[in-house]
Symmetry: C2
C-alpha cells in the first residue's frame, strides 16, 4: 500500500473510458445476437462453454429449492431474516406517491407513479455466492410493486445453484431462478427465449461481460447501472483506531484484484500506523492473495494538508463507499457531494452496510457517484405526466401556445390548438 | 393512413434493436475519439464538415445574445415567460428532500439528496429551432440546484444561433452556449476540450448521431435517455370530435418522417371520420410533405373490440404521448400502465403539453415508457445513503453480519466487524 500526496494521486488516477472496450464488445455482441437468434439453444451452448456445465433445464426446480433449504444453517437463516427486516424498513421510506395539483381553474396536472411490469435480477456466482444481492435487489423491486421478478445466476460445476442464493430467493418469494450467467443471461432477460421471459429492466452486479452486455441492451430494456470495480475511501483523523481503518480497507480489497482501497488523512502518523496495520492483518486473511494484488495495484493512503483539501479530493474520487472516521462525522456530511454511501464514525464499517443496516449495497462505482444513486425503490417505478385542461382553460392558453408553435415552425401544432379555438368561437 | 385491427398492428410493429446500428456506431466512435484526442481542433473540423460553417469561436458572445434579443417579438417573449412560470410551477412539486430516521437506539439511517455539479443541454437545430427544449431541460436542472448549466446547439448556415434559442437561454440565465451539434457536441460535453467544460450529465433530444453518441458516452457521464422517433396514441370514442383527433395526429406527424401517429377506437364510424379529416387537414398544412411520409409509413388507426383490448394495446405500445379523448377520461387513467404523458379529454391536445401546461415534454419514446419517465427534477440530483451505528448498536448486529460475511466467503468483511467486537470485549 503506497502513501502519497493529493497531487501524486490525481496524476495516477485516470479512469478507463467506456469507449475503450472494442474487443470485449465483439464477443458480447456475438453472444447477444446468438441468443436473439437461437434462444434456449444458445443459452445451453454458452453455459457449456463458459460455465462448463451441461444443463438438463434452465430453471431451478421445486426439488432443488427444497434441497437448498436443508443445506443452510439456522444462523444463516436468522441473519438473513433480520437483514430482510432492516432492508425493508429503510426502503419503505423511498416509496413515492402519485400526486396531482389544481392550481388553476379547470386545470389538473399530476404525476402517476407506476411499478415496472417485470424485472430480471442478475446474481453473480463463480468463486463466491452472494445471497445479499438477492435481498438488495428484490426488496426495493417488491416495495415498488413489481409483480414479475426473476433471477439469473450462473450454475456451479455440478449444475446446481448455491443453496444460500436459493434460500434467499425463496425467502423473498421469488421462484423463477434461471441457471444462467454472463452476457447470455443479460441477452435472455433483454429479448426473451423459449424459457426465459423478457423483462423491462435488468438489475444486479456482474463481471465485465455482464457489464458490457448491459450497456448494449440498454435502451431496449432499462438497466440499473454499469458496475465497475468496487471501492472504499476512508477519511481518518487521530480519533480513528488504525486497526479498524486497516480492517475496513482490507474488507474492500478482498472483493477482487481491481477493488480500490483508499485512505485519506491529514496525519502522517496515522497514515503510517494504518499502513503497518494493513500489512499485519492482511497476512492472516483467507483471501490474502487477492488482497495483496488489489493493494499493490490500487491501495493508497493519501496525506492531505487539511479537511478542505480532503473533501475536495473525496468529491473528485466520488467513492462508492465513504467512511468518515473523524470527529463529528455527521456535521461533515455537509461537505460530501459525491459518494454512494456515507458511513459515519468508528462503528459503522462498510460490511455493516453491505449486509445488514438497511440502505442498498448496490452503489455507483468508479466515480459514477458524481451522477448516480444507490439502487432504490425509485429504480423500479416510472412516472407518467397527467394533463387535463377544461375548454375555458385551453381558450385562455391558446394564444401563447400558438405563438410558441409558430415560432418553432410547427404549424400543425398551432392548428391543433386553433381548431379548438375556432370551434368555440363559432 | 391505414385502418387496421389490433392483430394486424401487432404483426407489423417490430422495434429495431439497440444492437442494430453498427455502421452508424463506427462514425460516431470515430468522432468521439477525435474529439477526445484533438479537442477544439476536432470540433472546428466537424462543424465545418457537418454544419458547413467555419466558426471563429465555439461560444456565443455577449454581443450575439444582445442582438438576439432584438430579433424576437414581444408576443414570443410573453409566451415564453408564461410557459416558464407554468413549467416551474409543475416541476417544483418534484423536488425531493434529504431525510433520516432513528428507528433503533443508536442508529441513524438516511438519504442525502445532492444536485449534480454540472449539466450539458443539447438543443437540436437544423430545420427548426426549439426554444421550448431550453425551458424543459434547464428549469428542472435549476430547481434541482445544478450550478453549472451549459447548452450546445448547432449553428445556422451563417454561423449564428437561432435568436429564439438564445433568448430562451438568456431568460433562464444560461450564458454558456456552444455552437456545436451532433456527436461532436456530445463528445465535448462528455470529455471536455480546451473550450468546452466537461459535464457529469448530458440531456436533450437529437438526431441519430446524437442518440448513438449518448449511448456510447453513457457510463462515463450520465445521460437522460436515448430518444427515438416521437409518437402519439389517441384513444377516441364517439365523444371525440374527429377534426380534433385528426389535428392532433397531424401535429405529431409533422415532427419528422419517422414520427408515429396512432389512433385507437372501438368505432369504425369514428375511424372513418378521423381518416377523412386527416386527409382534408393534411393538404392545408405547411409541412405536408413530411406529414404525408410519416402517415404513409406509420400512420395507423386501429379498431378494437372494447376498452379492455384498447388499454392492453396502449400498454403494449407504451406511447410517448397518450390522449384519452373518451368519456370520463380521468377514471380511465387507472388502466394506463405505460405512457410518457397522458392528456385527458377533448381540450388537452399534445401541443398544450409540448409548450405550455407545465409537465416536461422530454418523454420516453419508442415504447421505453415501459421503463422510463419524463425528464424531471429527479434526473438532476443523486442520492447518497447515510449510515451511523453507535458502538452498542454494532455490538448487537455483529453476530448476524459476521454470519452473512462468512457465508459469502468474505472473511475480511467478517474481520472488520470482529475486530470492533473483540476490542469492546477487552
Amino acid at each position: 500500500m503506497r502513501i502519497i500526496t493529493t497531487e501524486q494521486f490525481m496524476e495516477s488516477n485516470r479512469n478507463i473510458s467506456q469507449t475503450a472496450a472494442k474487443e470485449l464488445d465483439n464477443s458480447v455482441q456475438d453472444i447477444i445476437s446468438q441468443v436473439m437468434q437461437n434462444g434456449d439453444e444458445a443459452l445451453y451452448k454458452f453455459t457449456e462453454v463458459f460455465d462448463r456445465v451441461q444443463l438438463d433445464q434452465l430453471t431451478v426446480s421445486k426439488k432443488e429449492f427444497d434441497e437448498a433449504r436443508n443445506q443452510v444453517t439456522s444462523d444463516f437463516l436468522s441473519a438473513l431474516k433480520q437483514a430482510k427486516v432492516n432492508i425493508t424498513s429503510f426502503h419503505q421510506a423511498q416509496k413515492e406517491q402519485s400526486w396531482f395539483t389544481n392550481e388553476k381553474s379547470g386545470v389538473t396536472l399530476g404525476q402517476k407513479v407506476t411499478p415496472l411490469e417485470s424485472v430480471g435480477v442478475y446474481v453473480p456466482g463463480g468463486k463466491a455466492a452472494y445471497p445479499s444481492t438477492v435481498l438488495m435487489n428484490v426488496i426495493p423491486a417488491q416495495l415498488a410493486g413489481v409483480e414479475k421478478i426473476s433471477i439469473a445466476t450462473p450454475p456451479q460445476a455440478n449444475g446446481t445453484i448455491n443453496p444460500h442464493i436459493l434460500v434467499a430467493a425463496a425467502e423473498m418469494g421469488v421462484d423463477v431462478v434461471y441457471k444462467l450467467g454472463g452476457a447470455q443471461a443479460i441477452a435472455a432477460f433483454a429479448y426473451g427465449t423459449q424459457t426465459v421471459e423478457k423483462v423491462v429492466k435488468i438489475v444486479g452486479p456482474g463481471n465485465a461481460f455482464v457489464a458490457r452486455a448491459k450497456k448494449w441492451v440498454f435502451g431496449d430494456v432499462a438497466i440499473d447501472m454499469i458496475a465497475g470495480p468496487s471501492e472504499i475511501c476512508v477519511v481518518a483523523d487521530e480519533t480513528a483506531p488504525p486497526s479498524y481503518v486497516a480492517a475496513d480497507l482490507l474488507s474492500q480489497a478482498e472483493h477482487d484484484e481491481e477493488a480500490r482501497a483508499i485512505c485519506i488523512t491529514t496525519s502522517e502518523k496515522i497514515a503510517n500506523a494504518i499502513h503497518d496495520e494493513v500489512e499485519k492483518q492482511a497476512a492472516k486473511l483467507d483471501r490474502k492473495d487477492i488482497i495483496q494484488k488489489s493493494l499493490d495495484q490500487h491501495g493508497t493512503i493519501i496525506i492531505t494538508e487539511n479537511l478542505v483539501e480532503t473533501f475536495k479530493l473525496v468529491n473528485q474520487i466520488a467513492p462508492e463507499h465513504l467512511q468518515l472516521m473523524i470527529e463529528n462525522p455527521l456535521e461533515k456530511v455537509a461537505y460530501v457531494k459525491n459518494a454512494g454511501a456515507i458511513f459515519l464514525g468508528n462503528y459503522s464499517p462498510e460490511p455493516l452496510g453491505d449486509y445488514f443496516a438497511g440502505p442498498n449495497h448496490t452503489l455507483p462505482t468508479s466515480g459514477t457517484a458524481a451522477f448516480a444513486s444507490p439502487l432504490g425503490v425509485y429504480d423500479f417505478v416510472k412516472k407518467s405526466s397527467i394533463i387535463h385542461y377544461s375548454q375555458n382553460a385551453l381558450q385562455d392558453a391558446a394564444p401563447h401556445i400558438v405563438t410558441l408553435a409558430n415560432t418553432e415552425g410547427l404549424t400543425a401544432h398551432a392548428n391543433s390548438i386553433q381548431i379548438r379555438k375556432d370551434d368555440s368561437n363559432a
